[in-house]
């Protein structure tokens, strides 16, 4: 490309453009800038000289073609082309013919603000509807599943229990322990001011059992197992494994969906129980070190003031949270479309939506239990 050059000779209303060497997409912008500087109003005659041009690519041809159109717009009638290289001519003619045949690409219209809001709202409405349809199908399948004892896939359920719960025990315990530690540490500071050290037991017991443990467990499981459900089912959808299952008569609901939901509903209360234990242990450590409450004193006080109902309320929330996390994770997995972006998008959505749903559900429980006086 080093031997390519471009000369402009302008004399007596006659413009001659001489191209040498190559004219390709790498050097034509430079040439175009030079041509744009010219005042075409004074030009009557144009000579395009390609006699020393030895290579022209399709971009270069389009550039020349555009140039000729520009000349004719400026009512320059006499355009003379000098060229004897057959390859260059062929390329130029090919481009010219093809461009005459083809239509312009129309840019898609940009949507207005209101239009976009409307569109989004309608989309979300459709998502909601399809989620309802999914739930309907799920319940129909669930009833059928429970009636026919033989169709329960115990092996799959056991596998899912291992995958999404047993393997999560470590992270759930660690998170809960740390939360117990932090909550106790923060309240110890306040309680010390009033000399109400022993009340840390009441505080920890009630807050952890009723609210913190179920929520922490649900959030960890949503981030860990819910997202895995979405990614797994989404990938199966892209590779057409779900279609294959259906054509072979394996109902994906029975083989994939229900085992996951049931496994999570069984194990969530157990995970919450583990989380309860670990968080209380965390609190106990801080109470011992920071407030001087011995472990024996802590347990005695715990026995006195924490009623069993707090524990049961926390555990009862488990299956509900598990159901929400699993159904949203699976629903999002089934929404994956046939492109690579879709898995990431739906996995994010699945985690965000299931955590949101869990918190909404928790709020509803809170209202119900308060009104019931439990």
């Amino acid at each position: 490309m080093s031997n390519s050059s471009f000369d402009i000779i302008f004399a007596n209303n006659k413009l001659s453009l001489k191209f040498k060497g190559e004219l390709s997409l790498y050097n034509l912008t430079k040439y175009k800038k030079k041509i744009d500087l010219l005042d075409l109003n004074e030009v009557d005659n144009v000579v395009l000289d390609f006699s020393e041009l030895n290579f022209l690519d399709s971009a270069g041809s389009i550039f020349i073609d555009n140039l000729q159109r520009e000349f004719s717009l400026n009512s320059i009638v006499h355009v003379e082309t000098i060229c004897d290289n057959i390859e260059v001519l062929d390329m130029f003619n090919l481009v010219k013919e093809q461009r005459l045949k083809s239509k312009k690409i129309v840019k898609p219209k940009k949507r207005k603000f209101l239009e976009r809001i409307g569109e989004k709202t309608y989309e979300n409405y459709l998502v909601f509807l399809s989620f309802l349809a999914f739930m309907g199908e799920l319940f129909a399948n669930k009833i059928y599943y429970l009636i026919s004892y033989k169709s329960i896939r115990f092996k799959e359920i056991a596998f899912e229990i291992n995958e999404s719960a047993v393997k999560a025990i470590g992270i759930v315990s660690l998170t809960s322990f740390l939360i117990g530690l932090v909550i106790a540490y923060q309240s110890a500071f306040q309680l010390k001011i009033y000399g109400a050290n022993i009340f840390i037991v009441d505080m920890l017991g009630i807050s952890i059992f009723r609210e913190l443990s179920p929520l922490i467990t649900a959030i960890v499981i949503a981030g860990r197992s819910g997202s895995a459900f979405t990614a797994q089912i989404g990938a199966m959808k892209i590779t057409q494994e779900l279609d294959a299952m259906q054509t072979m008569g394996f109902d994906p609901y029975r083989f994939l969906v229900l085992p996951k939901i049931i496994a999570l509903m069984i194990t969530m209360p157990i995970l919450i129980f583990i989380s309860d234990l670990m968080a209380i242990v965390g609190g106990m450590v801080v109470a011992n070190i920071d407030l001087g409450i011995t472990i024996e004193l802590f347990i005695n006080r715990f026995n006195e003031v924490i009623a069993i109902k707090h524990f049961i309320i926390g555990i009862i929330k488990g299956p509900f949270f598990a159901f929400l996390i699993a159904t949203i994770g699976i629903y999002r997995g089934l929404q994956v479309k046939d492109d690579t972006q879709s898995i990431g998008f739906n996995t994010t959505k699945s985690v965000v939506e299931s955590i949101f749903a869990v918190i909404v559900c928790d709020a509803i429980f809170s209202i119900i239990f308060t009104n019931l006086g439990i």
Binding site: L25, T29, I62, L94, Q98, K101, K103, I105, D339
Partner: protein
């Protein structure tokens, strides 16, 4: 200008303890449509991937446009990659971009052209591969397999390469689209003065398009030359594969 665009000399490929190629030699003349054929698992696609620098080979030399691929320098590799186009088996269009955006991507990255100029070039490429301008704003997930291949071909032609690698261009297409695609490849070769290297299993496509073939079997080249003399060598694969059509 030298007459052979690609020279492959004594290529060896080893995966773990499995030998894929054991001394492969071939040469691709300028302006030809060259086919790599062989039974499945013989390493045709591997050889193609080695030619386009997606995979390292264990021994030997590949020379493309008089650049040796062993120990090629980064800048040379980039300029070489701009001189060829690759069409993957499933198209490999970027799914987050429209067809137009897919095709204009190399133009935006590698040239200083204005957006209007790029629009004109994209319009030309889309139409020359037989798509319509109306398709330009569709996403890859919205079009059929045949259209995907055409769009991917348009993308690989974006920088006006002189060399094109095709990995099973007609696989997954119905016979009519496959014949259309063959005709398109022949047309583009003549129009744009391309050299094409392809891996194919499609017997009809092989007969219609290829000028020169190399048959890889049992880690070696068993035949290289035109299709007419193919039966001059005694080989199980050639016998079964090429007599199927008769």
């Amino acid at each position: 200008m030298m007459s052979n665009i690609i020279e492959v000399k004594n290529i060896k490929t080893v995966f773990g303890d499995r030998i894929i190629h054991d001394g492969i030699n071939l040469s691709v003349p300028k302006g030809s449509i060259y086919g790599l054929l062989g039974p499945s698992g013989c390493g045709k696609t591997t050889l193609l991937r080695e030619m386009v620098m997606l995979q390292k080979f264990s021994g030997g030399d590949i020379t493309i446009f008089s650049h040796k691929l062993n120990n090629i320098r980064y800048k040379e590799a980039i300029s070489l990659r701009m001189k060829w186009g690759v069409l993957f088996q499933s198209g490999a269009l970027f799914s987050s971009l429209t067809l137009k955006e897919n095709i204009e991507l190399p133009l935006i990255e590698y040239s200083d052209l204005s957006q209007e100029m790029i629009d004109d070039i994209v319009e030309f490429k889309i139409n020359i591969v037989g798509l319509r301008s109306d398709d330009a704003n569709l996403y890859p997930s919205q079009i059929s397999g045949g259209m995907k291949k055409k769009a991917a071909l348009a993308r690989s032609l974006a920088l006006d390469p002189k060399l094109l690698f095709l990995d099973e261009p007609t696989s997954g297409l119905d016979p009519i689209s496959a014949r259309d695609f063959d005709a398109l490849i022949l047309k583009l070769r003549d129009l744009l003065d391309l050299t094409i290297v392809m891996v194919s299993h499609d017997l009809q496509s092989i007969h219609d398009t290829l000028d020169k073939v190399a048959i890889i079997d049992n880690k070696k080249i068993v035949y290289e030359g035109n299709l007419k003399n193919i039966f001059s060598v005694e080989n199980e694969f050639i016998k079964t594969f090429f007599q199927m059509g008769k």
